[in-house]
């Protein structure tokens, strides 16, 4: 029961989606299954949040190192939920002014908008922006032309880096004869992207596609049951 039912669910759901592509009669089944899937995806979002909070609460209760930060996370989590679900500072929808709950939860000036604008935006975008610094140190300390392969990679990278700025044009201005114009880094970049890059990526893409067929098939045939857990 614990393993058999889920196995059947997975196989049936997968095959319904497969045949819905080929047999118009089954299209409707595919759509229904897909709609349920999309609604269920919200459940997965809630589960993700729930798991996170569960872990943080465990950290706090066991007073593990850094439990104070866990407390910050928990407080922020509940504050965001409270403010967002309560639609604090949200005015009604202009089309339905007599419905107090009809407004947009991210309306400019509302509580959730404030959190989004002043906390989520700066924090998430700066986290990502840090990578610019890391890429610089990695360039200085790690990217070595130690063999033919790495040299080829770094030279291509250099051409693309210059070719995707005005430097690629400017460096060649005035002295490159017209018949060698294709050597200008911006033109060379276009060629690299269109020919070798397209070819290499295509080979990788085809390989990945076959890999996905294999993994999906193992699930649909019921030979890969790792998602069912251990017991």
């Amino acid at each position: 029961m614990k393993r058999f039912v889920p196995l059947v669910i997975a196989i049936v759901a997968g095959f319904v989606l497969l045949i819905a592509n080929f047999i118009p009669y089954a299209e409707g089944w595919g759509l229904t299954a897909q709609e349920w899937f999309n609604i269920l995806a919200v459940g997965a979002m809630v589960l993700g949040g729930g798991n996170l909070i569960k872990l943080q609460l465990m950290k706090i209760s066991s007073k593990k190192a850094g439990w104070g930060y866990a407390a910050v996370t928990v407080v922020c989590f509940f504050a965001a939920i409270f403010i967002g679900m309560g639609k604090f500072g949200v005015h009604p929808n202009e089309l339905y002014p007599n419905y107090a709950w009809s407004g947009y939860y991210l309306e400019e000036g509302s509580g959730m908008w404030w959190i989004y604008q002043h906390m989520i935006v700066p924090l998430t975008s700066t986290m990502f922006a840090m990578l610019a610094f890391y890429v610089a140190t990695a360039a200085f300390r790690a990217f070595r032309a130690k063999n033919t392969e790495a040299t080829l990679l770094l030279v291509t990278a250099g051409i693309v880096l210059l070719g995707r700025t005005y430097a690629g044009v400017w460096l060649f201005e005035g002295w490159l004869p017209d018949w060698l114009l294709w050597l200008r880094f911006d033109n060379l970049t276009v060629w690299i992207m269109d020919v070798p890059n397209t070819a290499g990526t295509r080979a990788i893409t085809i390989g990945i596609a076959l890999g996905v067929v294999a993994t999906s098939l193992r699930i649909l045939l019921g030979v890969d049951r790792s998602y069912l857990g251990q017991d």
């Binding site: 299954a33 349920w36 899937f37 996170l52 339905y96 880096l161 893409t205 996905v212």
Partner: protein
Amino acid sequence: MSESKQQSNGLIWAVVFIIGAIMLVWSMSTSRTGQVWVTAEQHAFVQNADGDWAKTDAASATSNDIAWTSYSSVPDNELTDEMISSGDAKMSWSRTIGLWLSAIFTLFILSFLVGDNPAYKFAEAMVVGTSAGYVMVIGLWDVFVPNLLGKLFPVMVQNWALPGMDASVGTQLLYIIPAILIVMLLMQLMPAGGWISRWPIAFFIGITAGYRMIGYVEADLVAQIKAAIIPLYETGADGTFAIWDTMNACILTIATLSAMVYFFFSIEHKGFVGKTARLGIWFLMITFGASFGYTVMGRIALLAQRLEFLFGDWLHLI
């Protein structure tokens, strides 16, 4: 070693602080740095004879009407002294505090470059908590209410949050199934009975396997082979032999085939196959080089945007 490290540590801190202090003093001496100004807009609605609500002039609104005021931020370069003196624009404390918080959070995160520290950890804990909460809120208002509650309890949802929806269809009982699946999934958070969550997970995995298989075969396998079938003899518009196009077509084909040979695992890389595979890996390296260049380009753009925020929105330097 450690002494010189400490020395350079101190030097870096000094440089960062001096630059920061100069910037702040400079910008503070000019006006309105770090402030957010807003303009107000009045909204008023009056009920007509049919019972519908229509927009009306805010000045003539009576106590029976519905009215509220909303505010929108004015960019600093559009803010004139006239607007300030006439009272059209007001400084918003909540948004000014928010702006300073954004700037401080940005600096907190950037402080990680100097070393792991409590400020960074604090900011990180906040981003984890708020974004998780935010995602839940979105899930509730954008999906859960219209796509599930709205189908199960249409009249209630219409009267509460979504007056514009069509409730005439009535309750669609079939939607109980996804509702039950969600409950089963959330059972995983319970100490016992977590095994039942395998049902929705299996449903998830089955559906994903089904559509991925088709999507990848159609777009990434069949369509890619189709795209790779090109003539190795190209002619121009006038029907004459085009040497550049032909050369590119040949390189494209050789590169694709040799890179595919590299990923064969049933043949040993010896002799001709070995040489082809070696050629393939060179083309793959060019591919990775291009990818490297593009990735670096993207990362720098992200930093530029953050610094524009600090220098522009916050410090009004640009």
